[in-house]
Subunit: 258 residues, 4 copies
């Protein structure tokens, strides 16, 4: 599967501001970035640093006034995808050290609070079957509702309110998977069938010793997502974080499978 990606951002910064961007498809074995181009309006500073867990890159900018970012890329997805429900979880005591952070609670995924619920609701299942049961449960019980949540909304609020957007669905998914003693992380992606077209976010779970993408909104499948970056939750994978006031003037994302 090949994806053609276009993303455009326009922001205005009234004061000199430090800005952290992360919106380029990551260069990792499971996807081949065949071509990519990023055009950023003049800034006072531009530096690339590694993304979280060394997946993808972030760009530090120093900018005042108008900022426009245009990104285009063609990405071939080589990811092997299969039915996760038959996979086993790695018992925690055999987990590699670098997966441990994804087992622990984070800003938007306080998994320590949902241990009882996870056990009561999904206690009869384990491993991939449990992840699949959690995903089905979210699809059945949560409404996709733009505007119902905001940047401060975490998984517990979403668990209570039963509505949100892709970010919120991923947060609840990650929280319940971690509460099941299975590592789970947040992945920002490009995917073609997201409605309305925008940056997309999904969960990734560690089963059988490998990470597997899972979209609790049902809008994207694993073989058609181009990964941008990973993290513990949305706090780590925002496409733009600014230190100082900012105003968003335009944001447009188009992803086509070709």
């Amino acid at each position: 599967m090949k994806l053609e990606i276009q993303a455009a951002l326009e922001y205005f910064f009234p004061m000199p501001s430090d800005v952290l961007l992360q919106l380029e498809a990551a260069i990792i074995p499971e996807q081949t970035v065949e071509s990519a181009h990023i055009a950023i309006s003049p800034t006072d500073h531009f530096a690339r640093v590694q993304g979280h867990d060394t997946i993808g890159e972030r760009i530090w900018l120093r900018v005042q006034g108008q900022l426009s970012v245009d990104y285009t890329a063609t990405v071939e997805i080589n990811r092997l995808c299969g039915d996760i429900s038959a996979l086993s979880a790695v018992p925690p005591h055999l987990l590699p050290g670098e997966t441990v952070e994804y087992l622990l609670p984070s800003r938007y995924c306080p998994s320590d609070q949902l241990l009882n619920f996870a056990e009561a609701q999904f206690g009869g299942t384990a491993g991939g079957a449990r992840v699949a049961a959690i995903c089905d449960w979210i699809k059945t019980h949560f409404a996709y509702m733009p505007g119902a949540s905001n940047a401060a909304t975490g998984a517990l609020e979403t668990f209570v309110m039963r509505q949100g957007v892709c970010r919120d669905f991923a947060h609840v998914m990650i929280t319940l998977v971690r509460a099941s003693a299975i590592p789970a992380r947040f992945v920002s992606v490009y995917a073609p069938h997201v409605e309305p077209q925008d940056f997309h976010a999904v969960a990734e779970v560690f089963l059988g010793g490998v990470w597997h993408l899972v979209d609790a909104t049902g809008m994207a499948t694993s073989e058609e997502m181009a990964k941008i970056g990973v993290g513990r939750d949305a706090a780590d994978t925002s496409f733009l974080t600014s230190y100082g006031q900012s105003q968003l003037n335009r944001q447009a994302v188009t992803v086509r499978s070709v």
Copy 2:
């Protein structure tokens, strides 16, 4: 400064449980572990993995029934300590990639919620002077009160309640420093003058390109702390995390400077 450390834990696990331990002084340049011994009662599994950010080690155990852990060590602290208030912050756009996670909100340190307060209260200061002002403000406005908080308490609850223990003081410190666009992380340590004697927790801030320990409780100074591990907040540095029911029977920590 040399520290003699003794720590003893006794737990009971009614069911087979995965247990993650992190209580050994880390082997890092700023402290020399002259001798160390850890004795753990028989377990079904024992594996060492790296700690967060490759500082220190965690131990995965598989255990049922009684677990006793006895740790003794002698650690020479070589850390260079000075007055942090004269140090400059690294502007965000010049920060190394591996410090970025400590700039972002985490489970117990949702720094995105205290941006306005940090700017209003400490806006006239920058860099080390700002960190010092935050530390002084916490010392003045918060009461050290064992029992006033629990494992679920985060920095915002502590900010509202104005009381807590070392963990809570460190969380508020970290949250306000991150809200000031300076990386800050949580460090679990051994320190000799902690009252009552126990595991201790402090903040570490990134100033002048180097990490500096800061204890908002005022109980420990930088030159007399032996680091165990670091993380975004207490979620990453617990001395014992168990998957499954557990019962704490004994916990004793003694730290002497010799």
Copy 3:
């Protein structure tokens, strides 16, 4: 059904403090207080005021040092009790004005946050059948767990954690009933089969134009509860609220059915 009630409190107030007591069985038509005696150690001030919604009485005290309260009473319960599941709800637009406050969110019962859940989970039922379904759901999904909650715990935390004590069960019950557009209030009571023996708390719901007691813990039935006071939630019905530091030295409650 007749109840013999004994309650004893001993507190210590290091400074002169205002104290609000509410622990006497209310004198209301549905229960006959055949005899009652309250003995309070000497205080600087003693005044009775009406309880919330004019049910029962509160006592204002001004006290320093030791406070002991001994209350004994014999109460005959005349309450008509039946199966609530066949009762109809009063449509909101026909509700009497004085029930409206029990339809609205309160400190521990933020019913505005559980509207979606209530509709999704209990949408097929109405009126008393809905109240019964909510009560059954709580009995099935929540664990009675002393120590799992504290004075700050509200219904949403309990909804997430799935555990608590009578107060928490009543809060979840009330929140879900209000989210179903049926008035619900919190009632502090004496009841004989509460384990361990203590003050007890239940919900009261407005069905068919009358208030009906419902105990989601299953420990007490409507015909064997002596009401103390009502309110929107636990904030309104505490047996002792003090302005100033206090120390609880003894609390003993005994209720026998005779």
Copy 4:
């Protein structure tokens, strides 16, 4: 001071809905409603019930489709206003029973959480001087920022975020006054100099045995407010609460002093 008030609402209800309105100036001694007219588009049901604490009236409607409400009134304000800072608080143990509910925590005003802060920040003051100090502190430390809060925002979130609208300012005011053991309630009002013109909300505090209006936003003075209703917080005084989906199409308020 005489006020000319105009308020117009247009809503759409896709399904038959129960609607609770409260937007008429209350008929109470401190203000004379010289003339008033309310025009409501045809509804299936219309019933008046008393407002909270018997101040003002609420209207229950049953409506499907379009709802338009037009209200005009001329109100003469007779309220005696003076400097509150010289007034004494009534000691809690002397408070009348009907004021007790305004001393207790509520949905948006969890005063039990700010006791330490209130004592630390305002401990040197008492009574009216304390209320004035709280009001000044809010004016100095909080930014009036439409859009920064929503219907779920309570006083603690506002205390942390340091920004909000009139409703949020009133919630913080009430919470800190209650945490100072002085009754405080929420009042919805019409006032002429509110920018932008809209329904307005302020606090009312019980000093010297009488209720006194206080506007922490500084936009309205006591002698130029027409009271609509009172309650523990915004939950009790919403101008429109609907049970069922609703869509707001128009809301216009004009208040002129003549």
